[in-house]
Symmetry: C2
Subunit: 518 residues, 2 copies
């Protein structure tokens, strides 16, 4: 199968249905088909050849969606760029991926000069903004208007669909190679899981389109011909307005976005009754936040998706059953769900043997959605895929019914006084304190304990908190050795583009400030 397949189908079946809505621009499938095939022709005219990389550096837009289809139509490979990177980081990734053509929008066209400084091999910059095309750039709309209508190369199957730099929380970003089969397997697995009930209506893209979780919904939408309403970036009031105006049926959010929506003072001014499914994932979620969301959207079905870029990206889903009163009372709400119909998932020990239910080990996955590998990193690829299983680096256990409980990233385990402390467990316990808006737990080196449990806390506006407050709050919930031995109050936690707390930054900051010497 191939990403553009659904576009052919939509044009045959519902040519006048709406493919994308972006601000005032409404594009039907028939129009999208024309634009995509001409843009592909334009890219070919610019020298893009089979397998060549084309990057997109920009906020979300309808043009971003066209890009994802036009590049494979032209038999090339996408390289969606992380919008939080500095120009130097962008240049490094373009160099690493040998990308010669980049599409930029108004937000990022000013950065091109700096990017070029660090990466002089950049041949062509295509301007997909709303103003006059800057000198030295090619106008996106000119390509769409004047590009020759080319036949779809139908790039698909095992061919490389894209390079996806992982927005990891530590280390140097590396590119994951995903094939068309990878992306479509995850998408079809999500649909076949029967967890979501929003395939007949419009979906809202508020999370960044360079991120695989959002791309995944673009893939599903294209496959089944669903309308995509696109916001340039996440903004609570814009989300609320879009839901009401476009009768949005499907929302996909990372926990921090859900929190910002729920905390917005105007949330009750909008009609959110059209929302039938809310998908979330990307980082662990506080149970208290989820319960507030369920209360505010009682008719919506909540679904948690678990995965990572290397898994295209979804492996497990916690459907509405886990969010029901029964699921909540039995503790399923804390689960990341069960393997979808497309995936096989195990928890293994350090020798690679499968562990029985209840025992914590590394979560490993196999299936046609597992990445082809890391770009030009054969040793890391072989290590990650050893024995035919993708080693996720996440620690967790399965229950007797195959529900996965993620205890933490393996590297996020604190070993304090010889005991394993799973940061996520501590974070969940702290987050339920009424004065805590958000928190992150890290290990800092400690003369006595080896590592010490340290909590970085974003309090609700104006609140004060002490270690003693937290000790009282977590007593009976957390064993003593799991409780934070030091805390730090901050205005805002540092977040990655996909809403994950940047723990590496917290660790570095703590070390810089001598927290570890406390």
């Amino acid at each position: 199968m191939y990403l553009t397949q659904g576009l052919h189908r939509a044009v045959q079946q519902r040519p006048d249905a709406v493919a994308t809505v972006f601000g005032d621009r409404v594009t039907t499938f028939a129009q999208q088909f024309q634009r995509v095939s001409r843009l592909a022709g334009g890219l070919r005219g610019l020298g893009v050849r089979r397998g060549g990389r084309v990057a997109f550096l920009g906020l979300n837009s309808d043009r971003y969606c066209e890009y994802y289809l036009a590049v494979p139509w032209a038999d090339a490979t996408v390289n969606p760029v992380n919008i939080r990177w500095t120009p130097m980081e962008v240049a490094a990734s373009l160099d690493d991926s040998q990308t010669r053509v980049v599409i930029v929008d108004d937000t990022f066209s000013p950065a091109v000069a700096q990017i070029r400084e660090h990466y002089p091999n950049l041949d062509t910059v295509i301007y997909a903004g709303e103003r006059t095309t800057p000198p030295g750039m090619v106008c996106y709309e000119d390509l769409v208007s004047n590009g020759p209508l080319v036949d779809d190369a139908r790039r698909g199957g095992q061919a490389m669909a894209g390079l996806f730099y992982t927005g990891g929380t530590t280390g140097v970003p590396k590119a994951v190679i995903l094939s068309h089969a990878n992306l479509i397997t995850s998408a079809l697995g999500i649909v076949a899981s029967q967890a979501f009930s929003d395939f007949d209506g419009a979906i809202l893209h508020a999370a960044p389109l360079f991120h695989l979780a959002t791309l995944s919904e673009l893939v599903i939408s294209t496959l089944i011909g669903r309308t995509q309403v696109i916001l340039p970036s996440f903004n609570p009031i814009a989300v609320l307005q879009a839901v009401e105006e476009h009768r949005i049926m499907g929302l996909r959010l990372v926990p921090i976005m859900l929190q910002l929506l729920l905390d917005h003072p105007r949330i009750d001014d909008f009609d959110l009754s059209s929302v039938s499914s809310v998908g979330y994932g990307g980082s662990s979620i506080a149970e208290s936040l989820l319960l507030r969301a369920i209360e505010r959207l009682p008719d919506a079905k909540f679904v948690q998706a678990f995965g990572q870029t290397e898994l295209s990206p979804v492996t497990a889903l916690l459907g509405p059953e886990g969010h029901s009163p029964d699921g909540r009372s039995s503790g399923l709400l804390r689960s990341a769900g069960r393997a979808g119909p497309h995936a096989e998932m195990r928890v293994i020990n350090q020798q690679g043997a499968p562990l029985p239910p209840g025992q914590v080990g590394e979560i490993v996955v196999r299936g046609a959605h597992v990445m082809r590998g890391y770009w030009r990193r054969p040793a890391e690829t072989a290590a990650a895929l050893r024995g035919g299983w993708m080693h996720t680096g996440d620690a967790g256990y399965l229950d007797a019914n195959g529900y996965l409980f993620v205890v933490d990233r393996i590297r996020d385990i604190i070993v304090s006084g010889g005991e394993n402390v799973y940061c996520a467990e501590v974070e969940n316990a702290i987050a339920s304190h009424p004065k805590v808006a958000a928190c992150a737990v890290i290990g800092v080196s400690d003369a006595l304990w080896g590592e010490r449990v340290h909590a970085v806390i974003e309090p609700v506006a104006g609140a004060e908190l002490t270690i003693e407050d937290l000790r009282l709050h977590t007593e009976g919930v957390l064993a003593a050795f799991k409780r934070p031995r030091s805390i730090e109050l901050v205005e805002a936690l540092p977040l990655s583009a996909s809403g994950k707390v940047l723990k590496a930054k917290l660790r570095a900051d703590a070390a810089d400030r001598g927290v570890s010497a406390q």
Copy 2:
């Protein structure tokens, strides 16, 4: 992906749920997992090696389901045998496919001697019946009890899943090579189409399991962990009893079975309220029959599936929307539906160019569900798959919304007096006559017209019919040149194992009896 993947998932998530029900035998997923892995070990012990073919010649049973999973588990290839064949035909297919191991049941174990006469290379016959194992055969249950537990070979992806001899209505049967990816793509496309609503309950297998339409439901059931209730063969009263007893949610029937059910005098004695989806296909259906079925099962959603063995097998689906009062009044009920999310479908002219809506041409299909090819027939494979599209041999047209209307098999078009007559159209018109139980229209050679429209009719019990009756009945419905110029009344139409009328036999019989000289 691979066929056995869902079994691993089911055992992890719902080990005690019911996998299969066959008569009094109820098998959970945990038990099925044990039986399948031991049977695979037994097959390996009998010398079955990577890619080797293992045939099954028998009526439906729970063991047939185990066979479909154990063979890929052992890294081998299935070869489900057409149960309507003569021993000589079976031998010819085993020889063609170089199959050395065959599993037989009680119905077919007596035929083994004759099969061996024509195919002495048959090494091993496994007896999967209910009695004492005949001499010279290996006991199936011994393999399941004593076979070593072997690891799943996880045969999947592009590897050959099976050889499927097409139960075509003409010519010498040939084997279609389908990969695991082929079968699973069709299955996931069916699920993603959202047409069916019976994925949470039990499905009934009443049509033969050697047929790909039934195997397709086995693949879906395994993927999503659905209970399969299995009847040895179709029998109206057994179907009605099973629906009531097991609260069957999904039925899949060919039109003749639907008719036999509806005509059964005891149909109103059974509670059929559990049925939420009825899938049908495999041959064209009379509108009058379908309307009777909708009337009898008003709460069930009807879905028509269009495909062929070469398409693993489904390409298009006509969902409940086509069966609603709106769909009926707009003529959608006569459509074979729209391409599923996994398929691309076109209608082309003889030069291979796509035709606009409304124009009749050959239906061609592409997608990951298209067969790898015909077994050892490179020329036929190249012809069928020329230009990257599977040429179905079916004639039809698309409407402006992508709905496919099949007018006929290309070889079932009668050219009478220079005009094309589509047999299916004539058959539909005749079938609505109250005295007609079933009918088939063929062309017979005619001195005046070149070919003449000839109808073979199975009247309702005791009824008489004349050409004049049919002329009056079809006046205003069919143009004069489409009306039958000769008819023939028979007790029963000859049917293939999958319920298709054997038109080649009708044509041969007509020629033998000199109908063409009339």
